[in-house]
């Protein structure tokens, strides 16, 4: 070791070494660190580039990347996670690098594998020669729950079953890639791979350029064009492709919405589709529109409750028949999950020789299918060296490592193997390779699995030059899955020379398509946008009223009996926003304390909490309809909502409420300025205006109930309606009931007034699609006109005089009428446009 040198003399001549403290475990392959702890040749450029950035810069870019992922709402839902769904996606700063020669071997192997699996499926769902001639043991297929008998004999276009195939690869200590699993029915991860690329190429532009990384754009385009080309010949000019998702609770829902948007397909759930005349249609506001191709992210047995799993609530009744009739193509084809299991994989080398006359290029680890008596005997005798896997899907069942079992567990496993030998496959254990993962200060070794993709593109196939690399949660856990934590890496296939830049942004044709798609809004989506508008507005009303209350409580001149405070407490209790006991006289310090308690994280005012979680839930169901910026605002809103534990001052609460109100205003701004004026926007805005109108009538009614201190409510009422300034400018006076009511209810020029909402609603409703047989004007139009006329003919000077019994009877009557009309509009719109929500029974 050299003697210490003062920092000022060290200078740039003694650079920081990325791998100086990196110690991968011995005896396994490391993806970056080669012999003598020097980087492998193809990693030199990356390592040097990161070293040039320096530790500090790398860390700050890492923070920025994490922020970008959070802001973009890239999430992965973890089933049964007490912290709820929507766990942020984790991306490492260091990509996995693959050199060109090795990549071309993987590429060739993927093309071969895709051909092989398609050939096998075409046989098993057709003549079944493989079973009759003894190439595959019949029980391996016939006992397999993934063999879907209704799919037998159904022809698929070009005999292609697997339109997108994913293969999980692991690198063994001899540096050879081996197949861990095939994902043949609805593989996930291609969307995350794309998002990883976008984030990392922005975070490390220098390294990305210097490494000559192959681009992904062309692959997605080939995938999209391949799917589009599956439409029947007579519809090829205007094919309609949808992405069928199980819904927002699915673990990879983020990517369903993301890919639908990127590929230009409509995101649908099962209930959005219906089968008529053995064709599939999407239920839109304007009626049924035929669907040609379904890219499904639903497991195949769930796709049709009529012919497949009867208990599926996610599928489309009759889909199987539409497929059989050849009027729709499902990708991947229903039934293709059959080739996913470990049992089929064990027979692939022999099948490849038989069917393609070639050696299998990517071999699995050595495998024994216990359905063969000899293999079973071997497995029983060698449990310690083997990994035992289920023969058949679901692949979610975890493999068992023989060496970690107790004697008792081994005994139990042996009995299980003997009882149902065909259910098990044993493989030699592959010691996964490691790669450095950045932890903020330095790097540590983690095991990894690489998922690569090949897509059918018409007559040919396209391989994604890259993939999704997943790393283990800790270096000693031999299983890598996102469900168990762990993270991901971008995968860079490096090339010798510069790469032609292909924009990842969608070409113009896609944005044109989106315009058209908006006209075909599924009615479920319209319904959700309507309620998103209502909940956003409700959140804003609540936040504003709470802010008024907090402002009054913290005002210096405030005392317990101040009429404004009494009135506000009354109104908020009436509107269900705070618990009734706060109205009890308790002295200002006690009230302050109680209020701040309300705002701690666990007891945040219930109304606002429910409201914001509804906003979150509904927004996630229409995620593909919201811009990235809008989504970022919604994320910000959630973050601003969460107050820290510990002592909370009312001043902090005020800050948070102010931020939330600003977030909500930003959302409205995005909605007004950036959302195309399609049907989606119409429903969002109608929902918002109905809610704002209802809030106005409720607020006035509760304020009148505070009589005689209702006068004290006028100021807060103006504030909540964001109309204080207008009032001051207009009247230069203390608030009086009649002019306040006029301003917040009847004034058509005040964008917060009820009359303004009604006029806006009338204009919006007029633009809604309507049934040719619908009466004109429609019922909702007549109801809105009724409310407008009632409001216009109201004399607020007269209405503001209390009646003989000191009650505002006539004003209350007007409020009742308006309230009934507004609810009527909401109900008729629901009935006319969203009536898809019928129950499914069988």
């Amino acid at each position: 070791m050299s003697a210490p040198i003062a920092p000022e003399f060290r200078g740039p001549a003694v650079p920081w070494r990325l791998l100086e403290d990196y110690r991968p475990p011995a005896g396994i392959y490391d993806e970056v660190s080669g012999p003598g702890a020097r980087p492998h040749a193809h990693c030199e450029t990356l390592v040097r580039s990161l070293e040039r950035l320096g530790r500090h810069e790398l860390s700050s870019r890492w923070e920025a990347a994490k922020r970008a992922i959070r802001d973009n709402g890239v999430t992965y839902n973890v089933y049964g996670d007490p912290q709820g769904v929507d766990r942020p996606w984790t991306l490492d700063m260091m990509p996995l690098l693959i050199e060109p020669g090795e990549w071309s071997r993987i590429e060739g192997a993927l093309l071969q594998r895709s051909r092989l699996l398609n050939t096998i499926l075409a046989d098993l769902y057709g003549p079944q020669r493989l079973l009759r001639e003894g190439w595959l043991p019949p029980s391996l297929v016939l006992a397999n729950p993934s063999f879907l008998r209704p799919c037998h004999g159904v022809r698929v276009p070009n005999d292609v079953y697997v339109h997108l195939l994913a293969v999980d690869l692991a690198r063994s200590p001899d540096s050879q890639w081996r197949v861990l699993a095939d994902r043949a029915q609805a593989p996930s991860g291609a969307g995350y791979a794309l998002e990883n690329r976008i984030v990392l190429s922005r975070s490390l532009p220098e390294a990305f350029r210097d490494c000559h990384v192959q681009r992904l754009g062309a692959f997605y385009r080939a995938h999209r064009d391949g799917l589009t080309a599956l439409a029947p010949a007579n519809r090829r000019d205007h094919p309609r492709v949808v992405l069928l998702t199980p819904g927002p609770l699915n673990e990879t829902y983020f990517e369903h919405a993301y890919l639908a948007r990127y590929l230009g397909f409509t995101l649908v759930e099962g209930a959005d589709l219906t089968v008529r005349d053995s064709r599939v249609f999407i239920k839109t506001l304007e009626g049924l529109r035929q669907v040609d191709v379904i890219l499904r992210r639903l497991d195949d047995s769930f796709c049709d409750p009529l012919e497949l799993r009867p208990d599926s609530a996610l599928g489309v009744a009759g889909l199987m028949e539409a497929v059989r009739a050849g009027h729709v193509t499902v990708a991947n084809a229903l039934g293709s999950g059959l080739v996913e299991g470990a049992a089929v994989a064990a027979f692939l080398p022999a099948l490849c020789r038989h069917l393609l006359g070639e050696e299998l290029l990517l071999s699995p680890a050595r495998s024994w299918w216990c359905g063969h008596p000899d293999d079973l005997q071997y497995v029983l005798a060698h449990l310690d060296e083997l990994v035992i896997k289920p023969s058949f899907p679901p692949a979610t069942r975890q493999p068992v490592f023989g060496r970690v079992l107790s004697a008792e567990q081994k005994g139990a496993l042996r009995s299980a193997l003997r009882a149902r030998p065909e259910d098990y496959v044993a493989q030699t254990e592959v010691a996964l390779s490691t790669a450095p993962v950045w932890n903020g200060q330095g790097s540590e070794p983690r095991q990894l699995v690489l998922r690569v993709y090949v897509a059918a593109a018409g007559e040919s196939m396209a391989v994604m030059p890259g993939g999704l690399t997943r790393v283990g949660a800790a270096s000693d856990i031999p299983i890598v899955t996102m469900q168990r934590g762990g993270g991901s890496k971008d995968t860079w296939v490096v090339s010798e020379g510069p790469v032609t830049a292909v924009s990842l942004l969608a070409p113009t044709r896609l944005s044109v398509r989106r315009e058209r798609l908006d006209a075909e809004l599924p009615s479920r989506v319209a319904d959700n946008l309507f309620w998103l508008g209502r909940h956003i507005e409700r959140a804003e009303q609540t936040a504003r009223l709470l802010r008024s209350l907090v402002t009054y409580v913290t005002r210096e001149d405030m005392s317990e009996g101040t009429p404004e405070l009494v009135a506000l407490l009354h109104v908020l209790v009436e509107m269900g926003m705070i618990p009734p006991q706060l109205r009890e006289s308790m002295g200002l310090p006690a009230l302050e304390h109680q209020l701040s308690l309300l705002f701690t994280i666990d007891t945040y005012p219930v109304v606002l909490r429910t409201n914001l979680s509804e906003v979150r839930r509904i927004a996630s169901t229409v995620r593909d309809r919201l811009s990235h910026d809008t989504w970022r605002i919604l994320n910000q809103l959630q973050q601003d909502f969460h107050l820290r534990h510990g002592r909370i001052q009312l001043d902090d609460v005020l800050v948070h409420l102010n931020r939330m109100i600003t977030d909500l205003a930003a959302f409205s701004g995005m909605e007004m300025e950036s959302m195309t004026r399609g049907h989606g926007w119409l429903f969002l805005d109608i929902g918002r205006r109905i809610e704002r109108s209802l809030a106005a009538t409720r607020l006035v009614r509760s304020a009148l109930g505070a009589h005689p201190s209702h006068i004290a409510m006028l100021e807060p009422m103006l504030e909540v309606a964001d109309s204080s300034m207008t009032y001051r400018r207009r009247y230069f006076a203390e608030a009086q009931l009649a002019p306040v009511l006029d301003l917040v209810m009847a004034d058509v020029t005040n964008p917060r007034a009820l009359a303004f909402q009604l006029a806006a609603m009338a204009a919006l409703v007029a633009q809604l699609p309507r049934h040719p047989k619908a009466p004109s004007p429609t019922r909702e139009e007549r109801t809105i006109v009724h409310a407008i006329e009632a409001l216009a003919s109201a004399d607020f000077d007269a209405l503001s005089q209390p009646g003989a019994d000191e009650a505002f009877d006539r004003l209350t009557d007007l409020l009742d009428l308006l309230d009934a009309d507004l609810r009527g509009v909401s109900d008729t719109i629901t009935l006319h446009y969203f009536s898809h929500a019928e129950q499914r029974v069988s």
Partner: protein, 295 residues
């Protein structure tokens, strides 16, 4: 043990099978599949078949399923509160001759998978509503001592089921598990068919589920059989050298001209006569009636 009729006898039946759904609220659209056309095979001919559906479906398409049964898919559009599916068929059923049971091969020979055809291998494993567990294996075991002739063992098994279990339409539903059926010792023909299949599969034998009908009025002097007022179910065992042999545990017999075959598969869910998914409808009720008369 009854073993009716000789191979030369044939009987022709007129069958009317009506399935009627009634809904408390209107159904806007419904999708159905029906397997109500009698199968055609060596022992049976379908001389006439008509499917009458009310309201008239917007679409009706037919195909053969994986097991060779005729399936009709149909969609009823437009609000409806009842749906009637009526299958009218004329079927000629031939008598079947069986070998003397003690001359059938030892049951273990039927467990040699390499010698079985694919459609038998298909019926070796658990299926949707037929779980094969220790309870059924334990029940089956006494009928299968080593080397016993296959059909003798099967005859013994269904004789025991018939003796041990009570026919009771109130005891079970289509969702009742086999474990519960064994515990209660009660059930209907579907339950006894499932139980018989599970017992046979637990011994490594191939057994399939058969749906069909029984003659409504027996010939003079013979007893009326159980399960005649609705569709019936029994099972078939694969017997090397003989092929599939029908067995009716509910009536403790090897069916011949008394049984009209509709469809077969691994399980009830493969052959359920009418199945549907409806939108709307509220509460629904189902009535099934079957008439099987000699022509």
């Amino acid at each position: 043990m009854q073993n009716s009729a000789s191979a030369e006898v044939t009987v022709t039946y007129e069958v009317v099978h009506t399935t009627r759904y009634t809904y408390s609220e209107a159904v806007s659209v419904s999708h159905h599949v029906a397997r109500v056309k009698p199968r055609v095979f060596a022992g049976q001919a379908c001389l006439r078949h008509e499917l009458q559906i009310e309201p008239v479906p917007a679409v009706m398409r037919s195909h053969q399923d994986y097991f060779g049964n005729a399936v009709t898919f149909f969609i009823v559009e437009g609000a409806h509160k009842t749906l009637t599916v009526r299958a009218v068929s004329t079927v000629k059923v031939g008598g079947r001759s069986l070998p003397v049971f003690v001359h059938t091969p030892p049951w273990e020979e039927a467990c040699d998978y390499d010698a079985l055809p694919l459609d038998a291998i298909d019926c070796l494993f658990e299926s949707a509503s037929i779980a094969v567990h220790d309870t059924v294996a334990g029940y089956a075991h006494p009928s299968f001592p080593p080397g016993r002739p296959l059909l003798e063992a099967v005859a013994d098994l269904i004789h025991r089921i018939h003796a041990d279990f009570t026919f009771d339409p109130q005891a079970t539903t289509v969702a009742t598990s086999l474990r519960d059926v064994v515990t209660m010792r009660r059930g209907v023909c579907q339950d006894f068919a499932r139980l018989g299949i599970a017992c046979l599969r637990s011994q490594g034998l191939a057994a399939r589920y058969v749906s069909g009908y029984l003659e409504t009025l027996p010939p003079p002097g013979e007893p009326r059989l159980a399960g005649v007022d609705a569709s019936h179910a029994w099972l078939a065992i694969y017997c090397p050298g003989l092929g599939w042999v029908d067995v009716d545990p509910t009536n403790n017999m090897f069916p011949s001209t008394t049984h009209v075959t509709l469809a077969w598969g691994r399980d009830y869910v493969d052959v359920s006569p009418v199945r549907g998914v409806i939108l709307g409808g509220g509460q629904h009720s189902l009535q099934v009636s079957v008439d099987v008369l000699r022509a």
